[in-house]
Amino acid sequence: MKSSVITFPGSNCDRDMDVALTKFGFKNKMVWHNDQELPKSDLIVLPGGFSYGDYLRCGSMASKSKIMHSVINFAKSGGLVMGICNGFQILVESGLVPGVLLRNKYLQFICKNVHVKVDNKENTFFKNLDKKILEFHIAHNEGNYFCTNDQLKEIEDNNQIAIYYCDQNGNTDDQINPNGSIKNIAGIFNKEKNVLGMMPHPERMIDESLSGEDGSIFFKNLINNIK
């Protein structure tokens, strides 16, 4: 399986994502933001970081970079695209997934483990996953997901919510919400479910010595689903 990770100026989880994808069997290529063409890929990943220093708005400038034309076309033709953290912000800014990501409710960067509930398994990203609750890791300053009521209705009607912040038992109450996201949303799909944007970093949970191993479960499942 072939994957590509896009490096924007200021990306800083691109190497981590490369390590994770390679570990679980992807043949991964790193792609520079200024390139026009994408290599042949089964999965495109927009990694975390601070593309363009998060200036203007997080993800805003990166969404206008050269390679994004190809990424958008790839997504529109049904290709799998995943944006993590800053990558999620880029997806939002480029209109590939609905909504916006605001500054965290308590106005602080948050780096910690969280639990997320997987709600929708009828898609390539989570199909066949044998766990409903995963322990992931977040590290962000602008992960407070927000959308209009109309958008929210549409998102819910189309089953576009990918993961919710929850406690270890799967409860999604307000107290467990780390950043103020509407409905505890941690990740969201496009209508067709071939584009996933999420704040948590599965690539930081791929080894028992790290914060946990649920990232391994996610990636192993993902590559099996693509095969």
Binding site: P9, G10, N12, C13, R15, D16, V19, A20, G48, G49, F50, Y52, G53, D54, Y55, Q108, F109, I110, C111, K112, H137, A139, N141, H201, E203, R204, I206, S209, L210, S211
Partner: protein, 730 residues
């Protein structure tokens, strides 16, 4: 241009005699640009004029040392062709004036020092000290500093893996912000700042030069007064995004063979970087200031030379490599300009609008810079307090422990480190909150442990003992995670060197550090000195900060402090004598601030530490934690909280009473968890090495029970330990 006279020199922070010396060296009166350059190079921050004579006494040599003090950062050998580059630096003065930018650029500056040497930064640490929690400025300063550290480090994508935060009234008018970075490099790809060869192009890369930070280094070489607000323009403004680009561009250029020498523009900007490279190479340097990329129009030579704009580098390239280098910096959207060349004149010559605007022999700025042997006063070891033993009897362990666990200097600092990205780069295997932070050496079995510590109260009570103690404390932090300590970096924060007491504190702390480093074979490889941490004549407690680095050969053998398994037994390694003076118990509960700090016995320190490492190597140790502030019971509480397990404690039959046993701060001690079946073998090894140990308890579920009388649940311990800080910052 303004004509220079003695008064102008004094306004630049120079002393009368120093101005006279400049005129003598030049055999003429300097012009304003030249005077600016002298003032930048001769201030305390850049010239180390009060400290140099004493820093020479530090222990800096060892088998693992590749580069000691004197370069951008120190370098140590971690085998297999790998090396670790590391250093700690202060950014105290700017952080008090403008906490966000001050702290941010402190972090940016230290990372630049590390990647200038060709190393990719792999971990950040910091040691931050604030005034009393009652002081009205403290909260905002703390919030600003934490945001600044996070803002810069997070954006760079370098994990912040450990740190230290303390509160003490003596920092009310001068907070301390010490930032440390570790980088990883191949031993044969280390870059230095020594220029070589004639007519080699001198390249400027990175951000444009603006009017920020002019005289920053001079500001950091003076005490504060009521006009402090006016100093805001001397604080630099950071842009971590540009620094991230600069990091990637520099490492890309360094993978080739274009660079002869490279130096970041830190304190005193273009002035110190160019002079340092020329001085080390025993060369001259010629710069055309019209070629320097400027952010603002009409900048004068004086401003260009003294600006401390961030994210800039100066490089001496191999001739003919300009195009290759330019291509890389273009790719990363960074400024690139050939601004001059190396010469054989041994002078720094500056040109602007086709006119020579400065011409100074390099050696006058460096070798001939002032060096003072300032007067200093020796400190006496204070007399021990005679504490009435009936006071101990009146103290309840539970209440005392509650007060200590929730005191600002002991409580959990999660509120702080959750704002730092500590997991980016995917190799952090021990997060903040442990004895040391640990990161794996990417794609190897090795891991690097790092810790940062200081004990201002001990240093204030007796500088010589305090100096030794800080070194030992970092040594223990490294041993506790299973790392072999290799070397340290030091950040020496003191008041005005012009006062005999302060100078004495400095001299004796340095002596203590040196003695301990020598005895433990734990050399100092880098560091910096920050004097004049003083406001309106009130100085800080002497605060030498030590950053220790150690190696874990097999990261799977790393140790953490959380209790692992019920029924395992817990031993105290090292002898508990019951030293209460200067302990938290003494200060918080007994309100007694006098007396000597706990004695440091270097023999026991080394022996206990190395014996524990041996036990770890043999896989006997399930968890470990060193005993420090708050004594045995505080350390046990943290092990319980982290492991979510309890302990049944039985105080060994000693002459000292239980309060003394549980809360004293005797040095050289650790707590270890072992399986009961290993007790015999472990005791044998401890006894064979003459290491004193007490069996203190057994791990149980969810409760701390002390001598069958006192009971605390783990949730109680947790709430004592975490609630104070969150409540304070709301």
């Amino acid at each position: 241009m303004m004509e220079v006279n003695e008064q102008i020199a004094i306004d630049h922070g120079l002393k009368k005699e120093e101005y006279k010396k400049i005129c003598d060296l030049l055999k003429r009166v300097p012009n304003l640009t030249e005077l600016g350059i002298f003032s930048a190079m001769w201030n305390e921050h850049c010239s180390y004029k009060s400290s140099r004579i004493h820093l020479k006494k530090l222990h800096t040599k060892g088998k693992k040392v590749i580069q000691g003090p004197g370069e951008n950062a120190g370098v140590i050998d971690i085998e297999d062709g790998d090396a670790i580059v590391f250093k700690i630096e202060s950014h105290n003065h700017p952080s008090f004036i403008e906490p966000y930018q001050g702290a941010a650029t402190g972090v940016g500056g230290i990372m630049r020092d590390v990647f200038t040497m060709g190393a990719r930064p792999i971990a950040n640490l910091n040691s931050i000290h604030f005034g009393s929690t009652q002081n009205k400025k403290t909260k905002n300063l703390l919030r600003g500093v934490v945001h600044g550290i996070g803002g810069y480090g997070n954006c760079m994508g370098v994990p912040t893996i450990a740190g230290q935060t303390s509160f003490d009234r003596s920092y009310n008018g001068n907070i301390l912000v010490n930032a440390m970075t570790l980088g990883l490099v191949k031993k044969d790809k280390i870059f230095y700042s020594k220029a070589a060869g004639l007519n080699k192009p001198v390249i400027y890369v990175g951000s444009k030069t603006g009017r920020d930070g002019i005289h920053g280094a001079s500001m950091a070489s003076a005490s504060f007064d009521e006009k402090i607000e006016e100093k805001k323009p001397t604080v630099q403004v950071g842009d971590p995004f540009t620094e991230k680009l600069l990091l990637e561009a520099c490492l890309e250029l360094m993978s080739g063979d274009s660079i002869i020498a490279i130096q970041d523009m830190g304190a005193a900007g273009l002035t110190s970087s160019s002079i340092e490279m020329a001085s080390k190479g025993n060369l001259g340097i010629e710069i055309n200031l019209n070629k320097v990329p400027c952010r603002e129009t009409k900048m004068t030579p004086y401003e260009i030379m003294l600006s401390e704009s961030q994210e800039r580098m100066l490089i001496v390239l191999e001739s003919g490599k300009e195009e290759i280098a330019k291509k890389i910096f273009d790719k990363w959207n960074l400024d690139f300009a050939v601004i001059g060349k190396t010469t054989n004149t041994k002078n720094i010559e500056l040109f602007f609008d086709n006119k020579q605007v400065a011409n100074i022999p390099v050696n006058t700025l460096v070798e001939n810079s002032p060096m003072y042997d300032r007067k200093w006063k020796k400190s006496k070891l204070p007399k021990k307090n005679r504490i009435n033993k009936t006071i101990f009897k009146s103290l309840k362990i539970k209440d005392t422990l509650k007060k200590i666990l929730s005191s600002p200097n002991v409580c959990s600092k999660e509120w702080i480190w959750q704002q730092y990205d500590h997991t980016v780069m995917g190799d952090t295997i021990q997060k903040p909150g442990g004895d040391s932070g640990v990161v794996r050496v990417h794609k190897t079995d090795k891991a690097i442990a790092a810790t940062v510590d200081s004990s201002a109260t001990y240093c204030w009570a007796h500088p010589l003992t305090g100096g030794k103690q800080v070194v030992c404390e970092t040594w223990r932090n490294l041993i506790s995670v299973g790392a072999k300590p290799i070397a340290v970096t030091n950040c020496l924060n003191f008041g005005s060197p012009e006062k005999e007491e302060n100078m004495g504190e400095f001299v004796e702390c340095v002596q203590g550090i040196s003695e301990a480093c020598k005895y433990l074979d734990y050399p100092v490889v880098s560091g910096n000195v920050s004097f004049y941490n003083e406001t309106k004549d009130i100085g800080i407690k002497p605060t030498p900060t030590i950053g220790g680095v150690g190696l874990i050969k097999d990261y799977k053998k790393m140790i953490t402090m959380d209790f692992k398994e019920i029924d395992n037994i817990v031993l105290v390694i090292g002898k508990t004598e019951g030293h209460i003076d200067q302990s938290l118990l003494s200060r918080i509960i007994l309100n007694e601030n006098n007396g000597p700090p706990p004695e440091v016995n270097l023999f026991n320190e080394k022996n206990n530490g190395l014996t524990l490492l041996n036990l770890i190597e043999k896989n006997f140790i399930k968890s470990a934690h060193d005993v420090s502030l708050g004594g045995i019971i505080t350390a046990l509480s943290k092990m319980c909280i982290k492991g979510n397990k309890g302990i049944q404690i039985k105080k060994p039959k000693f002459l000292i009473n239980e309060i003394e046993y549980f809360f004293s701060e005797d040095q050289g001690r650790y707590l270890i968890e072992i399986n009961p079946k290993d007790l015999k073998e472990v005791s044998k090894i401890l006894e064979k090495n003459s290491v004193h140990y007490d069996e203190i308890g057994k791990i149980i579920d969810k409760e701390m029970i002390i001598d069958q009388k006192t009971k605390l649940t783990i949730d109680e311990l947790k709430s004592y330990n975490t609630n104070w800080f969150k409540g304070y910052m709301v």
